[in-house]
């Protein structure tokens, strides 16, 4: 401005020498006006700080990626009509300059993005306040630097999904410049922070910022469904006081039914299906190769599962098989028979003939010689049986044979060589059932009967002697169930006959023996037809 004023003076001097005097006054007037105008302009710029001052608060804010200087007056008693914003820098001797866009403005802010071009400079903002036409005041701040910039957050929106949130931030389509540099160079050391908050849980995300333009979406992952998440976005300034956090925008993550299960759910379902298919495949394969699901209804001959029975032979079923042993004896005995006359004939008879009839009854009643011979004899007490036989022999005199009880015990298979446990106990139970409510003396009554079933298909009779007579007798005794059904009646009918003939109590075994002996002789040929010798002394029917 000063050089221009000197130039005007020199030109005016030359003109005054060349031009006539009447024009000289006009030129002097014009030059004076020009000088006054220039002087007034110069004074107005230098004396702006001479205005009366009032307190105000001036801030520099990055708003929508523009540098905005805003001010707030503390004296609000008289509202200002308009403002003019001036600014200068402290490092150079530059006069304050009014910004064109911020002259006579009514709003209390000014965009200085295109005016302030030095990052390392400290600017002096000056606000001239107008209240009416005459009253002016000045509000200034000593300096504002780039580090004083308050960073407002970018506009953003949140969209919640099943397990993530899309945070869409709006940035300028063209990279803006601040202080003549890219805004991202300005903000390179200032973090963009996305604050994720769910209840008391707070998580901060700091995405990288470099040359971001347009809309940018940041995904918040691994979120809990059905949870309310609140998101805030802000720039983390170097000075925490200059950080402006956005208000929270919240969204509740709802399970997205249309989109189906999540990836983890799909993986789980697929894994479960694979496991199920593998399981059933293994089952089918094991079944085919015979490791599992084998048939259990094997024939008994192929039943190898019960290994225990291999070691300890299983007790045969009570009505299935009875292992009886016919023990012949050569001792003579007194046998009650229908034929009372010739005792010498009975001498030749053998006990097995009678005993065989006793234990080969088939579902019918049979009379055991041992029980019938001595009413006091019980199956549990073979010794007592013998004793009672002795007493009986005493009572009957010479006709009673002392060996008879022993013979009966042998007929029951309770001989010394036999295992007395199994068959003996079975008979015990059968007798107890049939004589329930009676003591052992009640079993001594004559005519006691033992009923047991024999499956003829699996009866084995062991023939201890080679004599075909015993075997035929045994087989004949086990052959005819029809006659055996009638046997008790016949026996009972025979007993009174014996008792009538003799004062001594009848011996059932003898009577039955005599009765069955007759049948046995008649069935001898029949049994020989159906019996088959399987060796080892057994005959199978």
């Amino acid at each position: 401005m000063r050089p221009s004023r000197c130039e005007s003076r020199e030109s005016a001097y030359k003109l005054t020498r060349m031009l006539p005097s009447h024009a000289l006054s006009i030129i002097r007037l014009l030059s004076l006006c020009l000088m006054v105008c220039v002087s007034l302009q110069f004074v107005s710029s230098t004396d702006v700080e001479d205005y009366p001052k009032e307190s105000c608060d001036i801030k520099l804010t990055l708003r929508n990626f523009r540098l905005i200087v805003s001010w707030e007056l503390q004296n609000k008693s008289i509202p200002p009509t308009h403002y003019t914003f001036w600014s200068t820098i402290m490092s150079k001797l530059e006069d304050p300059k009014a910004l064109e866009n911020c002259t006579n403005i009514t709003e209390s802010s000014c965009d200085v993005t295109d005016e302030w071009g030095y990052r390392n400079e400290n600017y002096v903002p000056i606000v001239v306040i107008y209240r009416g036409d005459s009253m002016q005041s000045l509000c200034d701040s000593f300096e504002i630097t780039a580090t004083d910039t308050r960073l407002e957050p970018p506009e953003f929106g949140v969209v919640g999904f099943t397990d993530h949130i899309n945070v869409t931030m709006k940035f300028p389509p063209v990279t803006p410049k601040l202080f003549r540099e890219s805004i991202w160079n300005m903000l390179v050391y200032r973090s963009l922070v996305i604050k994720e908050q769910a209840g008391q849980s707070v998580k901060l995300h700091k995405p990288k910022m470099k040359n971001i333009t347009g809309n940018v979406t940041y995904v918040l992952r691994d979120l809990l469904p059905k949870t309310n998440y609140c998101v805030s976005v802000y720039f983390e300034a170097e000075n925490p006081k200059n950080t402006i956090k956005s208000p929270f925008k919240c969204t509740v993550l709802q399970p997205d039914q249309e989109s189906g299960p999540s990836e983890s759910g799909k993986v789980g379902i697929i894994t479960g299906c694979v496991i199920i298919v593998a399981f059933f495949s293994a089952i089918v394969m094991l079944k085919r190769i015979g490791y599992i699901c084998l048939k259990n209804n094997f024939p008994n001959a192929l039943n190898f599962h019960n290994f225990l029975s291999w070691i300890v032979p299983e007790v045969p079923p009570s009505e299935g098989v009875d292992k009886l042993e016919i023990i012949p004896t050569n001792k003579k005995k007194k046998v009650w028979n229908y034929d009372y006359g010739d005792e010498s004939d009975s001498d030749g008879e053998e006990v097995p003939k009678a005993s065989a009839t006793g234990y080969t009854t088939h579902g019918l009643m049979g009379r055991l010689l041992s029980q019938a011979s001595d009413p006091s004899t019980s199956p549990q007490e073979p010794q007592l049986e013998e004793d009672s036989a002795t007493e009986e022999s005493d009572a009957t005199g010479a006709g009673a044979e002392p060996e008879l009880p022993t013979e009966a015990a042998m007929v029951l298979g309770l001989g010394p060589s036999e295992d007395p446990s199994a068959p003996y106990e079975r008979r015990e139970s059968a007798l107890q059932d049939s004589f329930s409510g009676h003591d052992s003396s009640s079993m001594n009554e004559p005519g006691e009967k033992v009923i047991f079933n024999v499956n003829l298909n699996s009866v084995f009779l062991r023939v201890l002697h080679d004599g075909s007579e015993d075997g035929s007798e045994a087989s004949s005794l086990a052959e005819d169930p029809v006659h055996l059904d009638e046997a008790p009646h016949r026996t009972e009918s025979g007993l009174p006959m014996a008792g009538g003939d003799r004062t001594q109590s009848p011996h059932p075994s003898i009577s039955s023996q005599g009765l069955w002996t007759e049948d046995g002789s008649s069935d001898k040929t029949d049994s020989s037809d159906s019996d088959a010798d399987i060796g080892d002394g057994y005959i199978m029917r």
Partner: protein, 180 residues
């Protein structure tokens, strides 16, 4: 015996770079904190604008644009600037009416950071930053002479304070180099 000496020499060669390395992460953290504290204290030193007393003090070009500077050189430049700022503000400021506590606190912050930098850089050899440090000494010599010419007036102090405020803008940019 020879093998023993060779082994010790190998250990020295191995640990020497480690011992001479600078923990720039810690340095950046402490320097950033110091910068903020010093800037806040400077803003509390108020006074008239004194636009007519402004003067241009030329700062070295390499310091004004430190983007290409290495971390070690930046550390030495910061050390030099803080030491000279401390010397400038150690002059009389009675004419300013500033709060003496604020000034002493400012000097205390500067002193602590200078001690930390001296301890950090005492074993590190400096090479390329030497000429820059000489230019910086010239810059701060001008500041001191200006104060002296203005007889430590209030406006002179306000102009000097504004220059120091700009210095902290540069120091902050130098500090950012430690993060890269």
């Amino acid at each position: 015996m020879t093998n023993r000496w060779i082994l010790q020499a190998a250990f020295l060669l191995w640990f020497l770079p480690i011992s001479l390395s600078i923990n720039y992460e810690e340095l950046e953290a402490r320097q950033s904190r110091s910068n903020s504290e010093c800037e806040d204290l400077l803003k509390q030193l108020r006074g008239p604008l004194c636009l007519r007393d402004r003067k241009f003090f030329k700062m070295p070009m390499e310091v004004n644009h430190p983007e290409q500077m290495e971390k070690r050189d930046a550390a030495f430049i910061i050390q030099e600037m803080l030491q000279n700022i401390f010397l400038v503000f150690n002059n009389t400021f009675s004419s300013t009416g500033w709060n003496k506590t604020i000034v002493e606190s400012f000097l205390g912050k500067l002193h602590n950071q200078i001690v930390f930098l001296n301890e950090t850089l005492k074993e590190v050899p400096e090479d390329e930053s030497l000429t820059t440090r000489i230019s910086l000494k010239s810059y701060y010599w001008q500041l001191g002479r200006y104060l002296k010419e203005k007889r430590y007036s209030s406006c002179a102090w306000m102009v000097t304070r504004a220059a120091v405020s700009r210095n902290f803008l540069i120091i902050r940019r130098l500090t950012w180099i430690f993060q890269s």
